[in-house]
Amino acid sequence: MNYQSPQSVADALALLAADENSRVLAGGTDLLVRLRLGHIAPSTIVDIKQIDGMRAITQEAGGFRIGAAVTGAEMSEHSNLGEAWPGVVEATDLIGSTQVQGRATPVGNLCNAGPAADSVPALVAAGAMVRVEGPDGTRDVAAEDIPKGPGKTSLTQKELVTSIFLPARPANSADAYLRFIPRTEMDIAVVGCGVSLTLDDNGTIIEARVSLGAVAPKVLLVKEAAEAIIGTKLDDAALDRLALAASTAANPIDDKRGTVAFRKDVSGVLARRAAKIAYSRAKGDK
């Protein structure tokens, strides 16, 4: 195995293009485990952390651009990212231990394409756009279009995600993420749910995005759940419709962490709770 630490995106792309069996290294908290287990045996590791901008959170067009090597800890510590996008920050902060937070990146979480990845439903609810660089130039892709299924992405081997963009927030906007695990920490989501809302000045929801994780081969953006609450003030009837839409959309498997019936039920419960938190935050309640 050959280790490379390129200083520019162009150099990184050249390395990826030169070796079909190359792998990108950002935080390494998934990659090193898979290396050690022998699940992968790359001939080249391309460490992107030395590339300019990869470790930076920058304000852009009223939103935030998060470099591909920015860690969960750096997002939690940022002075105003959490104010604009509390759900994205709390979702990323749920991943692993303090030690893992110091290395693991939301971009890696997305590109690893695990169905239960905690940061991914929050990024999808947020409408995050993913910047992809490759031999054919630059493209911006919606976060929900990166994972294709367990361990599979829409990226080619010659492409590299360089950043994620979280757009500017209109007034009265907020997001939230909740997951169910059978303990309080250090576990993988049985169900995860992200909700992002924008309200008008009267508290009526005018925009909504609802996403579910761990209940399908990839993250789900549930349009029916969003439509169930748009135009409402999140009254009980709207919450019931939201929960039903989320439970209906969930398409989980039975496994040791939860049954199909349980996961479908919990999808509705979490959608309801996450929507209430996002709504309260959007109204400015602390």
Partner: protein, 159 residues
Amino acid sequence: MSHIHVKTTINGDAVEFLCQADETLLDVLRDRLDLTGSKEGCASGDCGACSVTLDGRLVCSCLMLGAEAEGSKIETIEGMAEGETLHPLQQAFLDHAALQCGVCTPGFLIAAKALLEKNPDPSEEETRYWLAGNLCRCTGYDKIIRAVLAAAKNMRETA
């Protein structure tokens, strides 16, 4: 295969080493630099026995390559005591019997030190969450938490 030449600062000393691309920082610390205080428990980032700080940030040394450490400042358990004088956390672990077999102890001490540098007055809940990535199969954690909170109090009072 040729080696990678890496320049770091470990426990305040300039340290250069050669390593292979697939060696973790933990492999380098233990097998090349004879810093065997950091332990390998799980090699998957779950147990925290390999905890070190990298540029002040708590990390699992099993989850990074030695080559990634180029240019960075690393602190390990070997740098915690000052000569014969134990760090207040080390003394508190002894006073509270916060260890039995001791395999997890270096990781707990490094992680607890990182906590107290960030938050000198953590609550019990904050301490338990911060240390959730350090596993101990002997003590049941209670004595560890008590030791960390006692050391924090001691350090605040003597600061």
